[in-house]
Symmetry: C2
Subunit: 257 residues, 2 copies
């Protein structure tokens, strides 16, 4: 499994993922699920991937191939085909990637389904094209997509339930990018505690709006001091909060924690 | 949907449930899912129910009928059939209730499945029979069951993922019954925020071991002051914990929350 989360904030984007990949419970490995594309200075895209690793890797392969073809075509003075370079709006990039997802699943889905395996994958696309607002999309296995909104500034893919309550409490568009990154890490950390198929390294990309460049791309190993410290701080705050919950009417108010 | 949780602690049992029942999203109502049986002074049972309401209600009907039959049989000097009165061990009560679940599903399952509806239900059984330790069982739709253990003193049924992280952090057998009740309420409260199909009233039963009687049976409406205060206290602690998370290395340590 996988857990990825993105925040679309007034100040920009925060996108985060775990790195655990498993084929069954006895074949567990680590793959990055956060991918950055900057095919031209006027555009930046970040993809988070959940679901079939073969499908998401093939989508990435095709994105890169289409960019190569586009560059070759331009070098020869030819009209380039559709790629991340031709999108004029972020939603066009989402639609293009959705089409690649459907194409990959059409190629391998029949054989996979016969073997009882799902070819499905889900992606989060964040980014900005110069002159357009920054944005965040969730691309479904069927190629359609939704975007984050002011009311719900976060999008999740993969094992999303464990980490949702903290997002429901604190995710709002006014958060700073750094608070957004901490929120994503807390959501990831809680999920990893409750589900073995979600685990560090955690990766975080921070994109300040209109900068067309990531300000930070972070990778936290399980034993990285920053992650350990954040996890311990959160745990201690929760433990204190739990101890300080109001007592029931019948209890001695000084009852021990 | 539904969310129920039980804790098996050294000091006894805490069992809690929400009360929302829905048939689709446009038919939402409120039913108690916490049921207490004390068929004789030497035994007490508490059931939490999730899944098909028709199935769980019919299981309860049959439990009550079997107890009636047993009383009538005894009054007539006849050998009573199997009921909650005949169980000598708590696991025998779990097995009996599991058999009722299978019987109900066999009666209605074929017609329900033709209509695309699941007859399945899942139960948590907690209680004690005099001379035996108190215990907590999760009874599956197939009639088999598992019990809570020292390592994992909690059992959940229904919409269980949202409320699991807080249990993974704080559930341990040394908790007092009151802290256990607060933990269940925090787990329920967080779940209700993230999932519309889980909602107050929340019900909580507290059973001190070897007492063979509930010490408290609580019902919290959405606007009951104790629940509002607990929810607010927890929210404030989380918000403070979130504000106090350690800053990233590149941040001014005084950066605003």
């Amino acid at each position: 499994m996988t857990y990825c989360v993105g925040l679309c904030l007034d100040q920009g984007l925060v996108m985060a993922s775990d790195s655990r990949t498993n084929a069954g419970v006895d074949y567990i490995s680590s793959f990055s699920k956060l991918h950055v594309f900057q095919p031209a200075p006027d555009r930046l895209f970040v993809l988070l991937a959940a679901g079939s690793l073969a499908t998401t890797q093939d989508v990435l392969n095709r994105i890169r191939r289409d960019l190569d073809y586009a560059e070759n075509a331009r070098a020869q003075g030819l009209q380039p085909g559709v790629s991340l370079l031709t999108a004029n709006y972020l939603f066009e990039a989402a639609a293009y990637i959705g089409q690649l997802m459907v194409a990959v699943q059409n190629d391998y889905g029949p054989a996979l389904r016969q073997a009882g395996v799902s070819p499905e994958a889900t992606l989060i696309l964040g980014g900005q094209i110069a002159g357009q607002p920054h944005g965040l999309f969730l691309i479904y296995p069927q190629g359609n997509f939704i975007s984050a909104t002011r009311e719900t500034p976060y999008l999740q893919i993969g094992e999303n339930k464990f980490g949702k309550p903290v997002l429901d409490r604190f995710a709002n568009q006014e958060l700073s990018l750094e608070h957004g990154a901490r929120l994503c890490l807390v959501s990831l950390d809680g999920t990893a505690r409750s589900n073995l198929t979600v685990a560090p390294p955690f990766e975080v990309a921070i994109y300040p709006r209109d900068s067309l460049a990531l300000s930070h791309r972070l990778k936290f190993l399980a034993d990285s001091p920053e992650l350990v410290e954040l996890s311990r701080s959160w745990e201690q705050s929760l433990a204190r909060g739990f101890r300080e919950l109001p007592r029931f009417a019948w209890e001695d108010s000084s009852s021990p924690a």
